[in-house]
């Protein structure tokens, strides 16, 4: 039976808004949704240059987790994980959340120490985590090769239950549905060409569809953050790099966890449909071009076969790339800017997907109240001038 009314409708932007959100990815949509729903802001618009979810929101590998290194940022990820678990019910839209748990692998004593340190941090913060021996790993993940045949054999690992997978397109559609229900204007094909500032205060934006005046602007542009911030004459401490990932053909379920190797710098999970989603490779240079390289596929396949020799016959179905705005300390940039009422949520590099609901919620709180929530008040851009770096680490191969 056909659906009678659409779940959302797109619209052309109007002339005036309370808050304009630049970027129709998960971060922007989540911010708009929580601005309207939690903060009761009446007139909110999301301006998207291409189509909703064009960027990193549809170019990730669908993983969420709460086992990052820096303890100060963990509560934000924990909030995000809790929101992912609640959102399907709240949005009345199945996000296909599958909390399968993370399996991490160490291939050296140094790797084991790094895992042990994170284990202590998480345990102290009440996040469930277990250290495992190679034998225990083999019991949980039977396909894993824990012998000493691999180029760098596995010496230990962890099991971190509060992590898993969210269907990324469903997340975009869910937030679109939620935004529409809360009365947010959704404007695809709307490119912001200028951010207007008078006396150090934001007054509106220029777009290809005319000028819009607004009391506040929130920039959530993903990999294009520098290009958008430049419209307000701001430099960002980021460099945009291309990340590649790929999927195999579908096979019967055999992998019930997200498996991350911290020696080969790669990870893999099997989706509900049966394909193996694997990544990731960050080309170690600045580029805004979306491309895939043979070198990536070759190296990724090699690493995967070191972990799972039995998947040798699987064919690759697709590969893709996305843009990552990488900060120097591996932590994001969230908060206010030197321009009054101009907010930013950027620098998420290749790990923005998992945090999107929490970023939307906290930024909405900040934008509506003017008070920076404790969860994100150390993530401002000023930390780079004050030398307050956050000891996060990058986990992908470059």
């Amino acid at each position: 039976m056909g659906r009678k009314s659409p779940l959302w409708k797109f619209t052309e932007p109007r002339g005036t808004y309370d808050v304009v959100v630049i970027g129709g990815g998960l971060h922007g949509l989540a911010a708009a949704y929580y601005l309207a729903k939690d903060q009761k802001v009446k007139r909110v618009a999301v301006l998207e240059r291409k189509h909703f979810g064009y960027g990193g929101s549809s170019r990730n590998t669908e993983v969420y987790r709460v086992n990052q290194r820096a303890p100060e940022i963990l509560p934000l990820y924990l909030l995000s994980r809790n929101l992912w678990l609640e959102l399907s019910a709240e949005l009345e839209w199945n996000l296909m959340v599958w909390e399968k748990g993370m399996i991490g692998l160490a291939h050296s004593d140094a790797g084991l120490n790094a895992i042990r340190m994170r284990h202590e941090t998480q345990t102290r913060m009440g996040i469930e985590n277990y250290m495992l021996t190679p034998e225990e790993l083999k019991k949980l993940v039977p396909a894993l090769d824990v012998s000493d045949k691999a180029a760098i054999p596995i010496v230990g690992g962890y099991f971190n239950p509060p992590g898993g997978q969210v269907r990324h397109d469903a997340a975009v559609w869910g937030f679109l549905k939620g935004c529409y229900k809360e009365g947010v204007d959704l404007c695809p094909g709307t490119e912001v060409t200028g951010i207007n500032v008078t006396d150090g205060k934001v007054t509106g934006v220029d777009t290809n569809k005319g000028s819009i005046s607004c009391a506040a602007v929130h920039m959530a542009p993903g990999g294009y953050s520098s290009e958008v911030a430049r419209l307000a004459h701001l430099d960002l401490p980021v460099m945009t790099m291309p990340l590649q990932a790929m999927v195999t053909e579908c096979v019967k379920p055999f992998l019930d966890h997200v498996v991350v190797s911290e020696g080969y710098f790669c990870y893999v999970q099997q989706s509900i449909k049966g394909d193996l989603i694997m990544g990731a490779h960050l080309d170690p240079w600045q580029s805004y071009k979306l491309y895939n390289t043979y070198e990536f596929a070759q190296e990724q396949a090699y690493c995967m076969l070191q972990l799972f020799p039995d998947i040798a016959h699987l064919r690759l179905m697709r590969s893709w790339s996305g843009l990552c705005d990488m900060t120097v300390d591996g932590a994001p940039i969230m908060g206010a800017t030197e321009v009054e009422n101009l907010f930013i949520d950027a620098g998420w590099g290749y790990f923005g997907f998992k945090s999107s609901p929490a970023c939307g919620k906290t930024m909405a709180q900040f934008i509506a109240s003017g008070q920076c929530p404790e969860l994100i008040n150390f993530l401002g851009i000023d930390r780079f001038y004050e030398g307050r770096m956050i000891p996060e680490v990058y986990m992908v191969r470059t």
């Binding site: 294009y224 520098s226 290009e227 430049r230 430099d235 960002l236 401490p237 980021v238 460099m239 945009t240 080309d283 170690p284 240079w285 600045q286 580029s287 805004y288 071009k289 491309y291 390289t293 043979y294 070198e295 705005d325 120097v328 780079f384 001038y385 030398g387």
Partner: protein
Amino acid sequence: MGFLIPCPNCGLRSAYEFKFGGEVKNEPGHGAGLCEWRHYFYFNKNVAGVQEEWWYHYPCQTWVIVTRDTATNEVVGSPRLM
């Protein structure tokens, strides 16, 4: 594949043979404050377009300045030796 960079010593080589050294920036002069230095170290123009940038070619151990369009990865002109 990635893309090729013309090395002044070795000719056209795969970008994977090089180390990317970031965009060319103006170094703060003597007497610059900590804030200026931090801006120099951490902040980038990060242009989606043509820019000058540092590349190090591992095989011949040479730093070169390459002009490249970051939106297409096309190298413009020939690199300068430093």
